[in-house]
């Protein structure tokens, strides 16, 4: 009886698949983008403007992280992958086009008196050697270390900057996306975390009580990311498997063109061709 049930379900799924699959990719004028949650909101804005300039096209933007972007482009699920870091050596076969730059900023609660941290201090805080804010010039209270979950590109960038492995970090809170990180720091005066500068600067400007700390004496600002002086920064790439043609090529060119720069800046990222 149970086996019969499996067979029945299998048959139904197969039938549904037969009916559905053709309608999924008939439209030639459709692009699917998947990948980094940092790029997705920007890509969504660019896609909306692109669609209005090119009637009859449809751009579908989905998140899931840089790794998913790479993976989906490789197996053809997506036309363009969104990858918020440099390509790794084993990914060099893919074509990457930077559309903007982003910095990863260290954030603390706005009431925290600490004004800056050095790389060495940051390493000690994240590995648990420094456990109290008074050791780095703050108040006498224990530090709450906020780390990102495994697989996030922010985490990879942060680890490679500090030259640490994730197993060496002693976190008190592990978070998923930028928004959760910012909310965690807002709710805890003694927390330290790291999120995309774009997201943090936007929140700080809209009255959220967080503070971006300078790193090695360089202020965590959009201007310093643009000039390349801010040490924790990364490119936001659109990635394709083969040399882009047709609609994909049009979209990538549009995203890199001055027509999209105001959208890039609205998300607190730095347009690439201004450098």
């Amino acid at each position: 009886m149970k086996l019969a049930g499996v067979a029945v379900v299998g048959t139904i799924m197969f039938a549904v698949g037969l009916v559905w699959s053709p309608s999924g990719n008939t439209a030639a004028q459709k692009l699917v983008l998947t990948g980094a949650s940092t790029i997705a909101p920007l890509a969504g804005e660019i896609a909306r403007r692109f669609e209005s300039r090119h009637p009859g096209t449809r751009i579908d933007v989905q998140t899931g992280g840089s790794s998913r972007g790479i993976n989906d482009v490789r197996n053809g699920t997506a036309d363009i992958g969104m990858v918020s870091r440099d390509l790794k050596p084993e990914e060099k076969g893919l074509h990457a086009y930077a559309i903007a730059l982003d910095g990863v900023g260290i954030i603390v609660h706005a009431s925290n008196p600490v004004v800056m941290l050095h790389r060495r201090q940051l390493i000690d805080i994240y590995t648990g050697k420094i456990a109290n804010w008074k050791e780095v010039g703050g108040v006498n209270s224990p530090i709450t270390v906020v780390n990102k979950a495994e697989g996030r590109s922010t985490l990879e960038l942060f680890l490679s900057y500090l030259n640490l492995k994730n197993s060496q970090i002693k976190p008190h809170v592990v978070i998923g996306d930028n928004a959760q990180g910012i909310k965690t720091v807002v709710g805890n005066r003694n927390a330290i975390g790291y999120v995309s500068i774009g997201a943090a600067a936007y929140e700080a400007e809209h009255g959220t009580p967080i503070k971006l700390l300078p790193l090695d004496g360089v202020a965590a600002t959009v201007a310093n990311v643009r000039s390349g002086t801010f040490p924790l920064s990364r490119p936001l790439n659109l990635v394709t498997r083969v040399f882009p043609e047709g609609l994909a090529r049009k979209f990538i060119e549009f995203a890199r063109s001055p027509e999209a720069h105001d959208l890039v800046e609205a998300q607190y990222f730095v347009p690439i061709s201004i450098r």
Partner: protein, 289 residues
Amino acid sequence: MIWSKRNILFPSASVDTLILWLLRIASGIAAGMVLLILFFLLAESLPLLREVSAVRFVTDSSWQPSEGAYNLAPMLSGTLYAAGGALFLATPLGIASALFVAYYAPPPAAGVYRRLIELLAGIPSVVYGFWALTTLVPLINELHPPGASLLAGILVLTLMILPTVALTAHAALLAVPDEYLRGAAALGMSRWSIIRGVVLPAARMGVTAGVILAAGRAIGETMAVLMVTGNVVQHASTVYDPIRTLAANIALEMPYALGDHRAALFVSGLVLMLLVVALWSAAARIGRN
């Protein structure tokens, strides 16, 4: 069982057969779904299970899938602590509130109270999580940093399963035959003695079923727990320690996981499924006794 055979009540045998087959297919699909899920979890975690012996999921030094360490034991303990703590708080509270509604509250108040509990059951879990992240966690942080902790998880889960326990217990109390109550009252028993000596024993099965239903929800709840428990992979030694549950582990890492890491998350899912199966079979045993 006169109607189980073809007879005058069913003039056409073909209708009977048709319905029989429709029911067979429907129940087959329901049973098949569970098997399919189990099969799918096994198939997805098999690539890793082939390379890594099952013992390593409890003996590895830590959970660092990118560095090849896959210890799930801290997350198993985290799941059990959080769900157990929530049941510990929600069961007495839920039963007490059901007793209140059924036997103590004046009817208008009972109606309003019951509506409120039903409303509580309908609030999406993300809302609980968001409230806890912005209100409860900072409060606990004042008490004992970092705030995001097992305690926060237990409190949120308690809120979420309390309506389940309360509503099913209330339904079970209503199902106790009126004659029992009248009989007990005629013997001159006090209200509390009736509840303790007659109502609760009679409603025991229904109440237990509600608690088990609540336990299932507590073990599987993901978003609210993910937002407040801190998600650090460790065995908690106090309620102020952050923990990570199996469900939160999957939600937190799945969007970004590839290869062995992804397979390891499917193993998490498999363990979670086995945990629920174990719970149900334990419940079935209690039910038989």
